[in-house]
């Protein structure tokens, strides 16, 4: 009797420190991943060579096809260890091509393992334009009925234009270690001073941008442990009942209401602790210390 992929024992792998290739191998059904434009068919970017940087064969992103829980999926996995996972011309075009393929092939999902600081400054204009093309391509895939599921749990998190891309996805799964935001704390500190944002205060950074905070505010949908198997399970469960909604004025109006009233409700707050208290958490200081299951249970108890 063939054991179903969903019950095979997963490899134990900490997601945060894993390479993109190891994440793909651990999250997807074992042995099912097929890479598009593999390294042996690729050259490092000439834009980096001209800046004396060797570059990488895959330009910091892996794209391909696999199965996940026996469902066909397309996969994007950014390599956060290469140039901060940042988006250059080739890197961005691989992602756009993958999403275009999703519109045509209509897999069960696109799994987007984001790990990126945003635009690669060495190719700033190419990166910005590419991110804009990725934004449209994500929405095209979703409009074609293909959910795009973002997994955020790497060392770079999802910042800059990638922070916008992640929030355009159908759902976002984060670990506590993951971060999701727009401007990096260092940039804010450089421009607005250490009083505004002490980027070296790690606990603060995670209270503002980290997975637990995003989960409590609803800016990510699922919170998982720092474990490739946990990301895998969460993605499979999401896809079990997923129906990709089509965009509508009514739907976006409701989202508009939610975002606007939230800004009003939390106006003037500057720390995750304040937001969690306002959400009804009686002892916000405990949040950073809680394990994942306890936090998920706590969120269920919060008033709507």
């Amino acid at each position: 009797m063939k054991e179903s992929s969903a019950t095979r024992l997963p490899r134990r792998l900490r997601y945060f420190e894993a390479t993109a290739r190891n994440r793909v191998a651990a999250v997807m059904d074992a042995g099912t991943f097929r890479e598009f434009l593999p390294p042996e068919q690729s050259q490092p970017s000439p834009h980096l060579a001209v800046l004396d940087i060797p570059g990488s064969f895959d330009d910091g992103v892996i794209v391909g096809a696999a199965t996940l829980g026996d469902r066909p999926v397309l996969v994007i996995a950014q390599e956060g260890l290469f140039m901060g996972g940042a988006v250059g011309e080739i890197h961005g075009a691989k992602i756009v091509g993958l999403l275009q393929r999703a519109v045509r092939e209509k897999p069960a999902a696109v799994i987007f393992m984001a790990d990126s600081g945003g635009v690669r400054l060495h190719e700033a204009n190419a990166g910005l334009i590419a991110i804009s093309e990725i934004m449209r391509a994500v929405l095209d895939a979703r409009a074609a009925g293909v959910p795009v599921i973002a997994l955020v749990g790497g060392s770079c998190g999802a910042f800059g234009g990638m922070g916008i891309v992640v929030r355009l996805c159908s759902a976002v799964v984060m670990s506590e270690e993951g971060r999701l935001a727009l401007s990096g704390p260092e940039v804010i500190e450089t421009v607005a001073g250490v009083e505004e944002f002490d980027s070296k205060d790690r606990a603060l950074v995670w209270r503002i941008t980290g997975g637990k905070h995003r989960y409590l505010t609803g800016d990510c949908d699922e919170l998982v442990d720092d474990d490739a198997a946990a990301f895998r399970r969460s993605a499979i469960e999401l896809l079990n009942d997923w129906k990709e909604p089509s965009s509508s004025v009514a739907g976006l109006r409701a989202e508009q209401e939610r975002l606007t009233s939230r800004c009003q409700r939390f106006d003037g707050l500057r720390d995750g602790l304040d937001v969690w208290r306002a959400l009804g958490v009686t002892d916000p200081q405990q949040i950073p210390l809680m394990d994942r299951d306890s936090l998920v249970a706590l969120k269920k108890e919060l008033p709507a």
């Binding site: 390479t19 290739r21 593999p38 390294p39 042996e40 490092p44 060579a49 004396d52 940087i53 060797p54 570059g55 990488s56 064969f57 895959d58 390599e79 260890l81 290469f82």
Partner: protein, 104 residues
């Protein structure tokens, strides 16, 4: 950046079919792509490295590796961001291991 090319004679490697990639181009790290080559008795190596002036060390490290292991009939391409000789040797071993599907 420096671009280096070498050719070492070596015992024929156990046959690998697919190209294998090992490592990541992070600071102090490198990636190695190994695939079948045309010359069964030699290994062709192309290196792109962020640092300049270490050509002799690269040559020595890879020569040692080609001498110790059977890598004839392969092509190796490396993108390097400042890895130490120890790390280079480690990754070469990992790459070869994956390529032939077992302990080299």
């Amino acid at each position: 950046m420096e671009i280096l090319e070498f050719r070492f004679t070596s015992q024929p490697a156990r046959q690998g079919v697919d190209a294998k990639l090992c490592g990541v181009v992070g600071s102090g790290n490198l990636e190695i792509l190994i695939q079948p080559g045309d010359d069964a008795r030699a290994c062709l190596v192309a290196v792109k490295t962020s640092a300049r002036g270490f050509g002799q060390i690269w040559e020595a490290v890879i020569a040692e590796f080609a001498n110790r292991h059977a890598v004839g009939g392969t092509r190796i391409a490396i993108n390097d961001m400042g890895a130490t000789p120890a790390v280079v040797t480690l990754r070469l071993g990992q790459a070869l291991c994956e390529y032939i599907g077992g302990v080299p």
